[in-house]
């Protein structure tokens, strides 16, 4: 494959303005991530110290193989919910190496509301276990939760993807032969008690760890029985009498070492072999991505310039470069893994959608994973395009995206709007992982257009009441609509609601994708590609 020849000029005012803007956003991302990971009320830290418990980040460091990368997911979950009081949704999830194996780690954060599960916590846990199922990743649970946050139970208990799904997913993992190890570092009460019980292996810490359906206060209220925590659900009782847990540990450090030993004792799964070559860094500096992404989201940029700073050796074999040029398709390598890339370079036309649908099928036949780089405002509109059947061509692309059996990976690099989101493997289309860049937006349509529609309705309503509006009055109606709409289209909001698996610093995209592709290959790729009916 030949290298992309970059036409980027790095000595222009535009490049410098873009770079300053995007570096500012990245700084903001780093600071928000740091705060979500580290900043806690002093009283919570004091309580952990009194209980002789390690801070979550220290637990993680003791669990992972030293010097190996950890891909944390959804660090900024719930960053715009609950007045910011539940950082990361009170959960840590991510993919890392333990005893040389890729594992998914899922941990309660006892320094956030005692580890209580909020609606966003449950969504994050379910998503993490979905990732484990789709990619056959062994799971380590670090259990330390006060249980569900009762005032919001209607938002996390009864529905299909609510708390019950956590336990359903655990059972499915076990059925698939994907092991789970639970480390009980605090209380696992009520529903939480089922996490270690449904794990194939478990370790529990003497003194601080406990598992019970009802804690001592509930038992006393229900039956009048007075019983201590240790007697009711402590480490020794469960490992010698009930058999609910496997091994008692004398400290957290001991428990984490035992968890590592357990993972080490498991047979390694066999990874799916795909075309792989010796990795090669991009020929162009990934830091130049900051100067490519425009300050104004409406300004189009050449996505090939981004690819040249993400893929191995900046090498790219472009498929049909002259046909449907607003969708770039082609083969490249990321960390040596061959991938098929679909990247937007403008609005989707019939030709670009057809090319995309065709290329997805080529990759599927070739057993080549797909990477989608989104910068899509939507499909072209207008009489000529409707007559040409742009809707059925868009449908073909969606049919191909939904039907592809190879793993898919999506990055929202700038914009993801409307049906473009569907055609480009948005959240609903089961990409193994989906990330956003800090300035990216996702919504059913652009803020300006949506505000136009919404405020026109209001304005016409007022006019029917016999009132005419001055420009200033109309603007006063539009402005707040645009502001709210823009806020809810932002990457910060998307990641808060777990519509993605996290925001990436653009320069980290290559490493994150490499790690995700590697993780995804723990699952086999189904034998024969097959699809629904393409409307011709």
């Amino acid at each position: 494959m030949r290298p992309i020849r970059s036409a980027l000029k790095t000595d222009t005012a535009e490049f410098r303005a873009n770079a300053a803007h995007n570096r500012g956003l990245t700084d903001q991302l780093r600071e928000r991530q740091r705060a979500a990971r580290q900043d806690r009320p002093q009283r919570d830290l004091d309580r952990l110290a009194r209980q002789d418990k390690l801070f979550l980040r220290d637990r993680l460091a003791r669990l992972l193989d030293p010097g190996t990368p950890f891909l944390e997911l959804s660090t900024l979950a719930a960053n715009l919910a609950y007045d910011g009081e539940v950082p990361s949704g009170g959960q840590l999830t991510g993919i890392g190496m333990v005893m040389g194996k890729e594992v998914l780690i899922r941990a309660d954060d006892a320094s956030v509301k005692g580890g209580a599960w909020y609606p966003h916590s449950v969504k994050k846990i379910v998503r993490a276990l979905d990732i484990a199922i789709e990619n056959r990743l062994p799971v380590i649970h670090l259990c330390d939760s006060a249980g569900g946050f009762l005032p919001l139970q209607s938002q996390f208990f009864p529905d299909r993807y609510h708390a019950g799904r956590i336990f359903r997913n655990q059972a499915i993992l076990s059925k698939m032969g994907v092991p789970q190890v639970a480390v009980v570092l605090g209380h696992c009460t009520a529903g939480g008690a089922y996490i270690p019980a449904l794990s194939d292996y478990s370790v529990i810490v003497r003194g601080t760890g406990a598992i019970f359906l009802g804690g001592p206060p509930l038992v006393k209220a229900a039956t009048g029985e007075v019983v201590s925590v240790e007697e009711l659900g402590g480490a020794d009782m469960h490992t010698t009498i009930s058999g609910v847990a496997d091994i008692a540990a004398s400290s957290e450090r001991h428990a984490l070492a035992l968890a590592r030993e357990t993972i080490g004792a498991l047979s390694p799964g066999r990874k799916t072999a795909i075309d792989r070559a010796e990795p090669e860094p991009p020929a162009y500096d990934p830091a130049e991505l900051y100067g490519i992404i425009p300050v104004d989201a409406r300004v189009q940029f050449d996505m090939r310039e981004c690819l040249a700073r993400i893929v191995d050796g900046s090498r790219f074999f472009e498929y049909q470069p002259q046909f449907g040029p607003t969708l770039i398709c082609g083969y490249a390598r990321i960390w040596g893994f061959k991938v098929g890339i679909l990247a937007n370079n403008g609005v989707l036309f019939s030709e670009s959608a057809l090319k995309g649908a065709h290329f997805i099928q080529l990759c599927d036949k070739d057993r080549t994973p797909l990477v989608f780089l989104q910068n899509i405002t939507g499909f072209m509109v207008g009489r000529d395009y409707e007559r040409q059947g742009i809707t059925k061509d868009g449908a073909k692309m969606i049919m191909a995206v939904a039907g592809a059996s190879v793993p898919k990976f999506t990055v929202n690099a700038n914009a993801s709007f409307g049906a473009g989101t569907y055609g480009m493997a948005g959240r609903a289309f089961d990409s193994r992982f989906l990330f956003s860049w800090p300035q990216a937006q996702v919504a059913v349509m652009g803020a300006e257009q949506a505000a136009g529609v919404l405020s026109d309705i209001k304005i016409r309503q007022l006019e029917r009441e016999g009132r005419t509006l001055s420009d200033a009055e109309a603007q006063a109606i539009r402005a707040p609509v645009i502001r709210d709409y823009e806020a809810q289209s932002s990457a910060w909001y998307a990641t808060s609601e777990l519509w993605d698996d996290g925001i990436l610093d653009p320069v980290d995209t290559r490493n994150a994708l490499g790690l995700c592709i590697s993780a995804a290959l723990n699952a086999p790729i189904p034998e024969t590609p097959h699809y629904g009916v393409f409307r011709m």
Partner: protein, 165 residues
């Protein structure tokens, strides 16, 4: 590996094939190797049984070779790039709109010399600002767009010709 070495502007076809012991050889069987400077022996190149003393420096896409008192600039071109370059010349000089839209800015005047990749016209369509760039080097012959003007798909936005203004 097959392609062309551009030495001081002149193309030389070259193929390299894997040789014994992880090395490389030319298709005629002669082995080739780069020899690093070692003790008193200067750096050089070995082709078959012959050794040439040569200083070699690599900078971006170019390789600089100092041999027998002369420095040569050598560039590698893949066979695809080489043949693509030969085929050029059938392009029309007209650049057309890919979609309906409106002109936001015109950045050149007739008679201006442009290089491939230079911004020529900025259009807005589907709420996106797109910069239309010169597909190759040339001189602007005519600008058929003015700021604020709406246009249909396939309309010619500007034209340019090879040669001098």
């Amino acid at each position: 590996m097959q392609g062309y070495l551009l030495i001081e502007g002149e193309s030389h076809e070259l193929a390299i094939v894997p040789g014994a012991g992880g090395g490389y050889r030319l298709p005629d069987g002669r082995s080739i190797a780069l020899l690093p400077a070692l003790g008193d022996a200067p750096a050089g190149v070995r082709v078959g049984d012959r050794r040439y003393d040569a200083e070699i420096a690599v900078a971006a896409d170019s390789i600089w070779v100092h041999l027998d008192g002369t420095t040569y600039e050598v560039t590698w071109r893949s066979d695809v790039d080489h043949h693509a370059g030969v085929a050029i010349g059938t392009d029309s000089g007209a650049v057309r709109a890919q979609m309906p839209g409106a002109v936001v800015a015109v950045l050149v005047q007739p008679g201006d010399r442009v290089s491939a990749g230079d911004a020529v016209v900025v259009i807005e369509s589907m709420k996106l600002e797109t910069t239309i760039r010169a597909p190759r080097d040339g001189v602007v012959a005519a600008v058929d767009a003015s700021v604020g003007q709406s246009f249909e798909r396939d309309v010619i936005l500007f034209e340019f010709v090879d040669g001098e203004p």
